[in-house]
């Protein structure tokens, strides 16, 4: 192997650091765009009784103001999912009802920002204020119904809109009640995971214009260019052939840009006015008017023998989708899909509801439900260990699913046949993680001084690699006339490095340096279809497509040369640089490439590979946290985090390592700081980085990463995914470390000093 497994530099890295113009804002120059802004609702739930734009429209420079009376009443979802979307179609471009503080009321376009802001102040809106649903635990059968109109659903995922239920899920195997009844020990606890802000550094931005072929061009910072094309086509009634979506470099996404919260607005302005339009969300809009992680309450029941054999896992979930149901059911079902297969148990069940509330809409976020589920399940397993007075690593040793075992819930969907776990080194990950953190010496805690305690804790988790039976990607390779290749893919690199990883895979098969492969992942006109960058599918799904295209390329080069040179294919050996002929002659790739495209060959070689998987092989991670707690203030400080990952073959160790470090850090944010606060009327008040604290470099302690590769037979060169799994263990491992240091078990994230201190004070009082 020459290029796979090497820590090759990111192919876009040097250019990005040196400041090349690469992002939407940098390349969207020179069109004299109209500035588009959205007038937003100040109320969490209201009906627009009257809206008057007469005075605002008269302002010089105002081009267009649209309200719900001016737009289609077609309903849709903005979730970036393969069609038919498993999300309820419960949105309109603009509606008579507004359902959270920030919901869109009017689209205003004018020559510059000042003019538009002035006009926005002059739009008169008369609201009938309705009682909002702000507590998601009170949403079901609340007297306020958030969507009185039945949303279209592509299939039955339990939408009961008149009860404020967006979706429901049930995944069950065996008789849970019976197994719980037979168990020596049953524990039951509820865990609360908060909504989380993606906090990518580049805010949302989209620009639109009609090009010389009268086609709608959309430049957007998105993870899902092909889904954006479908959305805009359906919603604005423009044929798909008349839309081109361009995806420049993306300044971070984390799942946020898997929903398309803004592209339709400038596109509509361009459609109406014929003029170029630009919409930029400021940081406040990025935080409040796009999507967040789904807040969840998960109640876990575990039944076990006194020897620590887990008989039953039972999880009831309640998820808060906010005002609209983007990714409501899919995120929720992943809670069950990525927790139930972890432990061998005779019975397991996940069930519950996703509810509508009058809050910012939730959507896709790295980890996609597995994060929430892992916090609950792994915390419960740690609590079970405590109750049985066992080492938490030992209880996992006894129960964790192992490579080669058949698991009935591993296939994710009810009714599908059980599948074998093809690859897992999770047991080795745990052993190595224990060594790295010094588990045997440090567990459960050490007193550093009368006021400082250090505790350690652990958690394990899995994710998938693409969505099996659905995600299908294509890759196209072109041999250029000068003997280098262009690799066209539709997956979106938003920093994770997938453009580099797919280039490495192609380089490996074509036996050329990565520099000879130009990756193009720019736009929907040129690149082959790919669902986009989500569900941890880049390396696994698109990578497999690249391998198919590359193998085909090698075949076609040899076949093409055989024809030109009039010798049999068997007498040609292709080594990447050149073709070695049986008679001892050598012809360079450069020469053959030129001769193929020229009059002599008339054979431009372009190959395409398309691939979709029957399974979604899980990567695994074992995470170990060491924290120091100030016993006088409750402040938790990260000291050390050891993460050991099985992502199959590691295609690029450097990039994979950074993925793990970044994911763990984002998980530390979820565990310790990140908290969305609202005022009593439902307005988000932690709407900037000033109030919403993401980890800085002084907050994360030391994060150390190692790999324990397995070989996944369905994966490209044996690889599985890595992007999402790495965020999931931080919160439960840290919660356990805090519990071990203080005796206080925090079941509601984030683990703030107040909660820890109050926990310690309450324990003292009750003693």
């Amino acid at each position: 192997m020459g290029y796979v497994g090497k820590g090759i530099k990111k192919i876009d890295g040097m250019g990005l650091i040196k400041g090349a113009s690469s992002y939407t804002e940098d390349i969207a120059l020179g069109h004299n765009y109209l500035t588009v802004k959205l007038l937003r609702s100040p109320h969490a739930f209201a009906r627009i009784k009257k809206i008057d734009t007469t005075i605002a429209s008269k302002i010089e420079g105002i081009e267009c103001i649209l309200t719900y009376k001016d737009v289609t009443d077609k309903r849709f979802t903005l979730a970036g999912q393969s069609f038919p979307e498993p999300s309820p179609h419960d949105r309109r471009i603009l509606g008579e009802y507004v359902r959270y503080v920030g919901d869109e009321v009017a689209i205003v376009a004018g020559t510059n920002e000042e003019t538009v802001l002035k006009a926005m102040k002059l739009i008169k809106v008369d609201y009938e204020i309705l009682e909002p649903v702000l507590d998601f635990e009170k949403a079901i059968d609340h007297k306020s119904i958030i969507h009185t109109e039945k949303p279209y659903t592509s299939f039955n995922f339990g939408n009961e809109h008149m009860r404020n239920i967006a979706a429901q899920d049930l995944l069950v195997e065996g008789d849970v009640e019976e197994e719980l009844a037979k168990s020596d020990v049953v524990i039951e606890h509820s865990y609360h995971t908060q909504a989380q802000i993606h906090g990518m550094m580049e805010n949302y931005i989209a620009v639109t214009y009609m090009d010389f072929q009268e086609r709608m061009n959309i430049i957007s910072s998105t993870q899902i260019p092909f889904h954006v094309r479908r959305h805009v086509s359906k919603i604005l009634d423009i044929p798909r052939s008349k839309i081109k979506v361009i995806k420049p470099r993306v300044g971070g996404g984390f799942g946020g840009k898997q929903t398309a919260p803004m592209e339709i607005y400038p596109a509509l302005i361009t459609k109406v006015t014929g003029k170029p339009a630009k919409l930029v969300y400021n940081r406040k809009e990025t935080h409040t008017c796009t999507t967040t992680r789904h807040e969840m309450k998960l109640t876990v029941k575990l039944g076990a023998t006194k020897d620590g054999i887990i008989n039953a896992v039972d999880i009831h979930g309640l998820s808060n989708t906010g005002a609209y149901g983007e990714h409501a059911w899919t995120v929720f079902s992943v809670v069950g899909q990525k927790t139930l297969p972890m432990y061998r148990a005779k019975a397991r069940r996940f069930y519950g509801e996703v509810v509508y509330t009058n809050m910012t809409t939730a959507g896709a976020f790295r980890g996609y439900g597995a994060t929430q589920g892992t916090f609950a399940l792994e915390s419960a397993v740690n609590e079970l260990a405590k109750k049985l007075d066992m080492d938490p690593s030992v209880i996992r040793e006894k129960n964790l699913v192992k490579q080669g075992e058949v698991n009935p819930t591993l296939n994710s969907f009810v009714g599908e046949k059980s599948i074998v776990l093809d690859s897992s080194t999770l047991d080795e990950c745990i052993t190595r993680g224990k060594e790295m953190i010094g588990w045997d010496k440090k567990y459960p805690m050490q007193m550093l001084s009368p006021t400082k305690a250090r505790g350690i804790g652990m958690a394990v988790t899995m994710q998938g690699s693409g969505i099996h039976g659905i995600d299908t990607a294509s890759a196209t390779l072109k041999l250029n006339d000068d003997g280098f290749y262009t690799l066209l893919v539709g997956v979106s690199d938003m920093g994770q490095g997938c453009d580099t990883v797919v280039a490495q895979m192609a380089a490996e098969i074509l036996c050329v340096p990565v520099s000879k492969i130009i990756v193009n992942s720019t736009d929907t006109d040129v690149n082959p279809y790919d669902p986009g960058a989500y569900a941890s599918s880049g390396t696994y799904v698109t990578g497999n497509a690249v391998i198919k295209a590359a193998n085909l390329m090698v075949e076609k080069i040899v076949a093409g040369a055989s024809k030109i040179l009039d010798i049999s294919e068997e007498d040609i050996e292709f080594n990447g640089d050149s073709l070695l002929l049986k008679d001892g002659k050598e012809i360079s790739l450069d020469e053959i490439a030129y001769r193929l495209v020229a009059y002599e060959g008339q054979n431009q070689i372009i190959t395409t590979g398309t691939w979709g998987g029957h399974t979604s092989p899980p990567p695994f991670i074992a995470g170990f946290a060491e924290v120091e707690v100030d016993l006088e203030t409750g402040k938790v400080e990260m000291i050390d985090y050891a993460a050991v990952v099985d992502c199959g073959t590691v295609i690029n160790p450097n990039l994979a390592r950074i993925q793990v470090e970044g994911g763990v850090a984002q998980g530390i944010g979820l565990a310790l700081f990140e908290d969305i606060k609202h005022d009593t009327k439902g307005k988000m008040i932690s709407d900037t980085f000033m109030q919403y604290k993401i980890p800085s470099r002084c907050d994360v302690g030391d994060i150390r990463v190692e790999f324990k590769p397995s070989f996944e037979h369905t994966g490209p060169f044996g690889a599985k995914s890595i992007g999402e799994v790495v965020i999931n263990t931080s919160a439960p491992a840290i919660a356990d470390a805090v519990a071990n240091a203080t005796g206080v078990r925090i079941r509601t994230l984030p683990i703030t000093p107040e909660k820890v201190l109050m926990g310690m004070l309450n324990t003292k009082h009750s003693n």
Binding site: I17, K18, S21, I658, E661, F689
Partner: protein, 149 residues
């Protein structure tokens, strides 16, 4: 109002609006990589060097740049390229959106601190947020660039 700003060694006349911040003025002049991330002085993306000191251009009035040496990424191309080599070697570049502000701060730190400790490095850079990398790879790269252990 009309002001004169010296940017990367070259004087430029620019008309600014009342109360205009340096970030917006630089952007209008075509320095596209002077980015804006947070609007609250919390993220460090808009960092430029004012007389060599890292400064948040999103919360510095453009007039404060008068009679000062303003340096953007373009003005430090040699050092930027050196640091970029080290950072990409480490794989510690992800989305790249925070890179200009971060890189300028690192360059200023190298000139200001002699053999800094890990804690001193973290402290110097703490105002530069990054949501992608988890900071560890950046730290490894910065240490190599600073030639400290």
């Amino acid at each position: 109002m009309e002001i004169k700003l010296k940017i990367n060694g070259i004087s430029k006349d620019i008309t600014i609006k009342e109360g205009e911040y340096l970030q917006s003025a630089l952007k209008r002049l075509g320095f596209l990589n002077v980015r804006k991330g947070c609007e609250t002085g919390s993220c460090g993306l808009c960092t430029v060097l004012l007389d060599g000191k890292p400064t948040l251009s999103c919360s510095t009035l453009a007039v404060r740049g008068i009679k000062k040496e303003i340096t953007t990424l373009e003005g430090e191309s040699v050092e930027v390229a050196k640091f970029a080599e080290v950072l990409t070697d480490e794989g510690a570049d992800q989305c790249g959106y925070c890179s200009p502000g971060f890189t300028l701060t690192v360059i200023a730190m190298k000139r200001e601190l002699e053999s800094p400790t890990t804690d001193e490095i973290k402290h110097y850079l703490t105002g530069n947020l990054c949501r992608c990398t988890g900071y560890m790879g950046q730290l490894r790269a910065v240490k190599k660039y600073m030639e400290v252990k």
